[in-house]
């Protein structure tokens, strides 16, 4: 029974809606037909107002056509059409649904005449129509358009819209649009004061330009109020600018941290100068590329998860290569850091050329999953999702690494071997294997970093070269052998870089940072957080 009743009710509702729509259309057609009878501008204006008052989106095309002089009345039967002139003929279309309605000679038609006053009425009616739209997004867009092109004549329409609005965000925008219009109107001082308050609460670049324009023309108390509001907005915008720079700095800092974090282990903890570190990052990026190609070919619907698949793969690939390098080359060179530097540089050249031979010298396209594109608006701050993901990911990797070093058995062994190799060996730790696995861990982390960095940089054989010097700077600046030092180093270099950029430009900013690091190392040759104690060289 209940089900039947619901079905019946649904049918009734559908029927009622259809009927309503039909009735509306019939009413509209009656209204439209009045254009034929309107012999002067006043009469036409009355019809336009009536059409606008219906609030039906169907009349939008018709009114637009009217304001451009494209509404015709056929002399024979007084039927109204929208028309496009083509030479001597006019292509006719139905005024409401736009369906083609044949061709007529110009002589058989009379154009509905418009003047500027009428055009303004039409524009208001159109604004009212979009403001009355059922879709909040359309209403929001309409409010924003009216805010940018304020028109005192639209105040009445805005008032109606504000009264009928129930979505808070749209209502705020409508009020702001009204305030912008009020400033241009000849309303009283009290109204304008309220308007200034509304605009200064909005506090963005648009509100600033409106208020500045008003400030130059206003008098007396209004002028002062506007001046104060302009100053306030300037202040707010400056604060947002600082926030923006901090965000960019954190974003750059997390990129630096991702690139440097593997080096913090191989160089910082083990003391191995791994010049092939950048190539480990590159291998991670290329692994992402290969994984994505495979997914595209085998299971295209899994593409959203390609990065999740690529992460462990990149760790394994880069880690395995790192293990091979440690066992094959580096273990013969322990205690000779400068030779290690040269040998790993050789490894980096070979890896680069190998990738170039296999994949070609050009950039490879690594796709971004849909959930990582787009951006998030936070006040005046635009935060792109992929940057946010990288920051979060970088923090996660850092936390994981800290956990491994401080809380696991393996981390304990690593630290023991670093601090006192012979004692550790006496306790039964197989130090060569700890060395090899530590190096593999550092390389694997670099590979993971490559997955993340492939999202924001061009994946080419030279991919790693761009990061190697920065990574060394971060590790040396932060203090070798200290993961937190690397963290602080990366973030402070990132933020410093982004604060210098507006004044000095990107390249000069980077040069200044490099020079500052060189000077800093003179002052503190062991970095920000140097290890203290007997391990420190005399």
């Amino acid at each position: 029974m209940g089900f039947l009743r619901k079905v019946v009710a649904a049918c009734l509702i559908v029927a009622a809606t259809l009927h309503g729509a039909a009735a509306d259309e019939a009413d509209l057609r009656l209204l439209v037909a009045k254009f034929a009878a309107a012999k002067n501008f006043q009469a036409t204006e009355a019809v336009v107002r009536e059409l606008g008052a219906t609030g039906d989106p169907a009349v939008e095309k018709l009114l637009t056509a009217l304001s451009q002089g494209g509404l015709y009345v056929r002399k024979g039967d007084d039927a109204v059409f929208v028309g496009d002139e083509t030479g001597q003929d006019v292509q006719l279309r139905d005024p409401l649904n736009g369906a083609p309605a044949g061709v007529a000679a110009k002589a058989d038609l009379s154009k509905v005449k418009v003047n500027n006053a009428l055009r303004r009425v039409i524009r208001d009616a159109l604004g009212g129509l979009t403001l009355g739209s059922k879709d909040p997004a359309v209403r929001l867009a309409a409010a924003d358009t009216m805010f940018r092109n304020p028109d005192p004549a639209a105040i009445a329409a805005l008032d109606t819209a504000i009264a009928g609005e129930d979505v808070t965000s749209v209502k705020t925008r409508l009020e702001q649009a009204r305030a912008a219009a009020v400033l241009l109107s000849d309303l009283g001082e009290a109204d304008k004061m309220t308007a200034i308050d509304t605009l200064s609460a909005r506090a963005d670049q648009d509100a600033l330009s409106q208020l500045t324009r008003f400030h130059t023309s206003a008098q007396g108390a209004l002028r002062d109020a506007a001046g104060a509001a302009v100053a306030l907005i300037h202040q707010r915008l400056a604060l947002w600018q600082v926030a923006q720079n901090v965000w960019y700095g954190i974003s750059l800092g997390s990129v630096l941290l991702l690139a440097a974090i593997g080096l913090a282990i191989t160089f910082g903890v083990m003391g191995v100068i791994n010049m092939a570190h950048g190539e480990m990052v590159m291998l991670g990026a290329y692994t992402t590329f290969v994984v994505q190609q495979a997914i595209r070919a085998l299971a295209p619907n899994l593409f959203d998860w390609s990065l999740a698949v690529a992460l462990p793969m990149a760790f394994l690939v880069a880690g395995a290569v790192g293990l091979a390098i440690e066992r094959g080359i580096i273990r013969f060179l322990y205690g000779r850091p400068l030779e290690t530097l040269l040998a790993t540089w050789g490894v980096s050249l070979i890896l680069q050329q190998a990738v170039r031979t296999i994949f070609g010298p050009t950039n490879q396209e690594v796709g971004t999953p849909p959930w990582m594109s787009g951006s998030l608006q936070l006040g005046q701050l635009a935060i792109t999702w992929n940057r946010l993901c990288i920051v979060v990911f970088c923090l996660a990797v850092f936390a994981l690494l800290l956990w491994v070093m401080k809380r696991t058995r393996w981390g304990l062994q690593m630290r023991a071997v670093t601090q006192n190799r012979r004692m550790a060996a006496s306790m039964g730790i197989r130090t060569p294997w700890v060395d090899a696995l530590t190096f593999a861990l550092g390389s694997g982390i670099a590979g993971i970093a490559g997955v993340a960095l492939s999202q924001i940089d061009n994946v080419s054989p030279n991919f790693g070269q761009g990061y190697i010097i920065d990574s060394f700077m971060v590790v040396v600046f932060g203090g070798v052998g200290n993961l937190w030092g690397t963290f602080v180093g990366a973030m402070s270099l990132g933020i410093l870089n982004k604060f210098l950029e507006p004044y000095a430009g990107a390249v000069l900013g980077k040069i200044i940072v490099l020079v500052l690091i060189i000077l800093f190392i003179q002052k503190r040759p062991r970095g920000l957080f140097a290890l203290k104690g007997r391990a420190v060289e005399a």
Binding site: F267, G268, M270, G271, V272, I273, I329, R331, F332, L333, Y334, G335, R336, P337, L338, E339, T340, L341, L342, A343, W345, G346, V347, L349, I350, Q352, Q353, A354, R356, T357, T418, R421, T431, D435, Q465, I469, F472, M473, V476, V480, G481, V507, L508, K510, I511, L514, I517, I518, L519, I521, Q522, K523, P525, R526, A530, L531, A535, V536, E537, A538
Partner: protein
């Protein structure tokens, strides 16, 4: 003691090297200019240019060897001094173009006209005089090295840290010279040279003259290095290399010892760059690339660091190999170079010359007294603690401190 042994044993070899260099400085130009083209003895123009380039590289490798092989300072920024010397020479050559440039401006080089510069920047003034340019070729790298070394050595930045900040220095300079508003031609650098000292730079007589100048400069560089290394100061240099702390405790100022070697070496590198630019006809910021500086290290390592002849042999051999590979098998050059880096450090730590010396059983006096071919002793004390408990034990990792 060791210094005298070293100097004594090496004297004949140094003398031969200098004689050979001076001989080719005379013979190659004669064979190029005076011998007719068809003759078997004729040296073609491109060989003159190519070998001239190698000799510039050899001078650069020798300069690096003075600080790395004899003082234990691994500079990864010597390419910067080379490039600065090159730029100083390039500026002189640009001013010599005069109004023969594309835009015909008598004062401003083409790239400045193109970038709408109205007048010559102050740092370009004086470069129309050869003597001034020649002075700057030595002064600019020398002063930079002096200032850099003054700060770095006094704060006792050593070993790997020093290597990394020298690399940062050349990287920063590269970024700076890539900027158009620096006034050094930006990305394109300086090129389209016409004259040097009034002679057409394209003429083969001029090129032969440049070749002779390069060979002579290299011979002079060998002589200067030999004098430094053989002197009492040279012994001090090696003492700092082998045990810096001990030298300091004996009352020597290790930082001053290093500073002198570093500055002299930078001046030599600057001269090499200045001779290089007119022979290749261009200087651009790519010369500052940190990768180039590291390549110089491998030349010295292949030939044998801590020997005077080694770096010269290494530079010529590696670059000849590079010319051959990039012509015959371009995609394999980086494999070969990378393999060379690994092979030399693993199997040939004292380089060609050092290894050859060790295989000479007929000269026992030298075998016991050599200081320059035992790599562990060269490097380890410089950056790990002077008397590390692990020294001499199996090679094992140590924290970078």
């Amino acid at each position: 003691m060791t210094g005298r042994f070293f100097a004594g044993s090496a004297t004949s070899r140094i003398a031969i090297t200098i004689a050979v260099l001076l001989a080719i400085a005379v013979i190659v130009p004669i064979l190029n200019i005076a011998v007719p083209t068809g003759s078997a003895l004729h040296v073609p123009n491109y060989v003159v240019g190519l070998v001239g380039k190698y000799l510039c590289y050899a001078l650069l490798a020798l300069a690096l060897d003075l600080v790395w092989g004899y003082c234990g300072i691994l500079s990864l920024g010597h390419g910067a001094f080379f490039a600065l010397g090159g730029y100083a020479m390039g500026m002189y050559l640009m001013r010599q173009i005069g109004d023969r440039g594309v835009y015909g401006n008598p004062l401003l080089p083409d790239f400045m006209v193109f970038l709408n510069w109205k007048e010559l920047p102050w740092f370009w003034s004086g470069f129309d005089q050869f003597w001034f340019a020649a002075l700057m070729v030595m002064a600019v790298p020398g002063l930079l090295a002096f200032a850099f070394g003054w700060f770095a050595f006094r704060s006792r930045v050593t070993g790997v840290y020093l290597s990394i900040i020298t690399q940062a220095m050349t990287y920063a300079l590269m970024l700076a010279f890539f900027r158009n508003d620096m006034g050094f031609g930006g990305n394109n650098g300086l090129t389209d040279f016409k004259d040097i000292l009034g002679f057409n730079i394209q003429a083969n007589t001029t090129r032969s003259g440049l070749f002779a100048a390069t060979a002579t400069a290299l011979a002079f560089g060998v002589f200067v290095t030999w004098c430094i290394v053989g002197s009492k100061y040279g012994k001090l240099l090696m003492a700092v290399r082998d045990a810096e702390s001990r030298t300091r405790f004996l009352g020597w100022r290790a930082e001053n010892v290093k500073l002198f070697a570093f500055t002299v070496s930078a001046v030599m590198a600057g001269i090499a760059g200045a001779l290089y630019v007119p022979q290749v006809g261009i200087i651009n910021p790519g010369e500052f690339d940190p990768a180039n500086s590291i390549e110089v290290v491998v030349w010295a390592a292949v030939g044998g660091r801590g020997t005077i002849v080694g770096p010269i042999i290494g530079a010529v051999l590696v670059n000849a190999g590079k010319s051959w590979f990039t012509g015959a098998l371009p995609e394999f050059w980086l494999f070969a170079l990378g393999g060379l880096f690994i092979a030399v450090t693993l199997f040939l730590p004292s380089g060609i010359v050092g290894t050859w010396d060790r295989w000479q059983p007929a000269r026992p006096a030298r075998g016991t007294a050599k200081v320059d071919v035992v790599p562990e002793r060269i490097v380890a004390p410089a950056e790990s603690s002077g008397a590390h408990p692990m020294a001499g034990a199996k090679p094992q990792p140590q924290p970078a401190e």
